[in-house]
Symmetry: C2
Subunit: 254 residues, 2 copies
């Protein structure tokens, strides 16, 4: 089932991104390179699965799904820059600045962010609330990054904004695009916030490096996973795709 949803994501990304050779050709090529084609596409899958969870069609959420993936990828392009993390490789390939130059990488990220909003504007309904959700996450992810760089040690703030904000936007946008009611949107919001936090705690456990220490992190991972799964109760549609995504992200815990 997730494979079908992933095919929708890839087709929509291909449709929304500038065509290969579209002027300026170097920018179009670099934008496609940045978004790639081999990723797990977790956030857009959450978006499409959230449309199903409110009883709607995945198809209705395809443009917001492409938007959240494009926005996520712009953050990676900018994070990799020499003035930021100075990373030369990502997914085994040269980073965008390493391949296309630093000025182009700044511009590629900027164009991708604009393209994300251009994509969501094609959603079949609730575009104002969808734009609000992505705009809030777009500001939040930067706020989380700034706090992270400043090393303020407020882990909950950083995890909430740097990681969970995009999960929340993905779920909320999917629910809204499929016509979900306010109660359903609130459930999706709670699901995605806890999923994002659990994902981050799991990551810390796998890395063997948690700001909270292993014991507390294990407890937090369990509590947030349980809260995510519990939030799916009461959703009127098919929540099996969201459950599968949670299980995929959180291993045996979900």
């Amino acid at each position: 089932m997730l494979e079908d949803l992933k095919a929708v994501v890839e087709a929509t990304l291909d449709e929304v991104l500038p065509k290969q050779g579209e002027r300026p050709a170097e920018l179009s090529e670099a934008m496609r390179y940045a978004v790639g084609s081999g990723g797990k596409r977790i956030r857009p899958l959450i978006c499409l699965a959230s449309a199903l969870a409110v009883g709607g069609r995945a198809e209705d959420a395809r443009y917001p799904a492409a938007a959240i993936e494009i926005l996520h990828n712009y953050t990676l392009v900018h994070d990799d820059l020499p003035a930021m993390d100075n990373d030369e490789e990502r997914r085994g390939q040269p980073t965008v600045w390493k391949k296309f130059g630093e000025a182009n990488a700044i511009l590629v990220g900027d164009a991708l962010q604009a393209l994300a909003y251009l994509s969501l504007a094609k959603a079949p309904r609730n575009v104002a609330r969808i734009a609000d959700a992505l705009g809030a996450a777009g500001v939040g992810v930067v706020q989380g990054q700034v706090e992270d760089i400043a090393a303020t040690k407020d882990v909950e703030y950083i995890y909430t904004h740097k990681t969970a904000d995009l999960f929340v936007a993905a779920a909320v946008m999917g629910g809204l695009a499929a016509g979900g009611g306010d109660d359903d949107i609130a459930r999706l919001q709670k699901f995605a916030l806890n999923l994002g936090l659990a994902f981050q705690y799991e990551d810390d456990i796998l890395d063997g490096d948690s700001p909270y220490g292993l014991e507390k992190t294990e407890a937090l991972a369990k509590a947030t996973t349980d809260a995510a799964i519990a939030a799916l109760e009461g959703l009127p549609g098919d929540v099996s795709a969201l459950r599968t995504i949670a299980a995929m992200l959180l291993g045996r815990r979900a």
Copy 2:
């Protein structure tokens, strides 16, 4: 009259930008610094005046107006970066990267772009078409910049995208937010495209440095100015503010 509209712009920017001290405080301070308070605010004035030109209220266009000014300022923050123009001063003050560091300047620009869409989401109607207009301009302005850096010498492409796209988005968003019909939006689009081009030609004439040579640039400036003014014919509302802005930008030509 423009003073009243400018007051609406400044009040809305103040409302939409993060409050001084809002967490993370350095980001909030830098975002406010980047948008400033002393600029001419040409683009948001075009947006509000376009609402009046379709017979609507300036108030209805205040959030799109703030959005276009915030988006314009993010492009300046990124243009000034060391990897781009490497400018240390703007409007007689240190540029954002010079004052807050390079990583912060990248992030400030990124957060401002997101904030632009968060602002336009508050428009009272037509948010999907408004987001489409700003998203298209947000991509276009980068395309123009990439061609400019690549020195392809296609002046019309560069001027259209680097300069006129934001003028067009400003006018179209203002008309849409105030409920303008398709014919009115087309007139505003034509007005703003020509105004943007005329503004750029005038700039070349003042600089004494035009890619077309003085004689041809004078002729282009006159033709585009005339086309801009002619496009105002048939708009159902009060076009006096748009006329005043054109006269302000284009000196005695308009």
